[in-house]
């Protein structure tokens, strides 16, 4: 799938919705709960793979630094987000270790 920032996608197997906020130049296969992500305006058809059911949280960013990929979750669900089969990790704030 060729990605552009601003593209809205959703899971085919749960409630998860994302917006692509950073897109790699090359094609990447995005999935959630074991099924490829689908266009945001379509309806989900399946159920998540139990092995890929860690869930997504609204407002969190899911990224793969090496690919240069970042997805912003706009609706949480039960599936796990993947890129080219690898699980995406949450990109969180990295507060200064000395903040307290």
């Amino acid at each position: 799938m060729e990605l552009k920032p601003g593209t809205k996608l959703r899971s085919d197997v749960c409630e998860t919705q994302v917006i692509v906020v950073r897109a790699p130049a090359e094609d990447v296969a995005l999935g959630c709960g074991g099924a490829p992500l689908i266009a945001a305006d379509t309806e989900p058809t399946g159920t998540p793979d139990p092995a890929l059911s860690d869930g997504t949280l609204i407002g969190k960013r899911y990224a793969e630094e090496e690919l240069g990929l970042e997805l912003l979750c706009t609706r949480g669900g039960t599936g796990t987000l993947t890129a080219n089969g690898a699980v995406l990790t949450i990109k969180g704030a990295k507060p200064l270790p000395s903040s307290d």
Partner: protein, 404 residues
Amino acid sequence: MQGALTGVKVLEVAAWTFVPAAGAVLADWGADVIKVEHPVMGDPQRGLRAMGLIPGGDDAINYIIEQPNRGKRSIGLDISTEHGRRLLYQLVEQSDVFLTSFLPDVRQKLQVDVEHIRAINPRIVYARGTGQGPKGPDAGKGGYDGASYWARGGVSDALTPACAEYPIGGRAAFGDLAGGMAIAGGIAAALFQREKTGVAPVIDVSLLGLAMWVLSPDVVASGLYGGDPMPKFDHKTAANPLVGHYRTKDDRYVTLMLLQSDRFFPELCEHVGRPELITDERFADGLARFTNCIELVATLDEIFASRTLAEWMEALATMKGVWAPVQKAAELVNDPQVAANGYLSTVSLDGKDFDLVASPVQMDEMPVQLSPAPEHGQHTEEILLELGIEWDEIAEGKASGAVL
């Protein structure tokens, strides 16, 4: 939510609790509050975990972020870069209020001081929260609640009993949260002035000034009479024994606040089941009760020690004179007045429901409905797109690190 400040745009360049709490109050009143956070570090309060303040560990809901940041949107911008600053300035153009806790030299270095911000938007209300105020030898120094308000501001000393080994420390962000209310009040007045005259004032609230305000009876009395003139009565020798704390059978406390003691003494005696005390000559009037205070306090100590707090709450329920149980924070959720007035608002985050405390101002008796604090930079793209920034430029900012 809809409120008195619906349509007002607030730009918050601030950290920790004091100034962000002002943003929270403005959001409670309906303002659109955008919190600007560093793209990597975020508000340093997000990392305030090592002191054991978040019992549930790293994945637990960070209440110390939620309470002062609820209802806001967050944008991740590095305003020390030219690109980040340019985007911030575009937000400044559209904002009614600029809210900051940054120190004067940092504001100058980042070019977000009054002069730079006013040059872009002369009608903006520029509000600063400081430790010690904008003037004087310590104007440039940092300040925290625990230092500027609690320690330097005299609050700790005034509350510390003579027998304590160390001065009493405040609860988390104690002065900060009151200070946020003060800033929000100043901003509301400033917005009114701007609407009337077209001129927006600069607003300053310091933690030191706030401490002096809450401690003003002590400060004024010392000025008048010197030293430490406010009386500190011992429990056993209270001038009016009908004002004070009495220990219950279950080691809790009932606070009596019967200031007009002649009026309320008979009623108290009836309610505690000792009507014969009404005609006891030792306690016949205020002067007699003062003269015989040791006996009266001892009698009341004995009376209150005979029943549990729950039993007293039932027995005193119909008393007109003012009294209260000494409650714990954990008990407030069950206080019927809290529920009736909507002082807590339940929000949902990561599939968990929890309560946040509403700011104390209500309009038209409507409880404030809260929503959770934003994730670090959660609304970065949404806010930039609203500004008319194209995805290409957002991507450029992300690549350079100016944008989260």
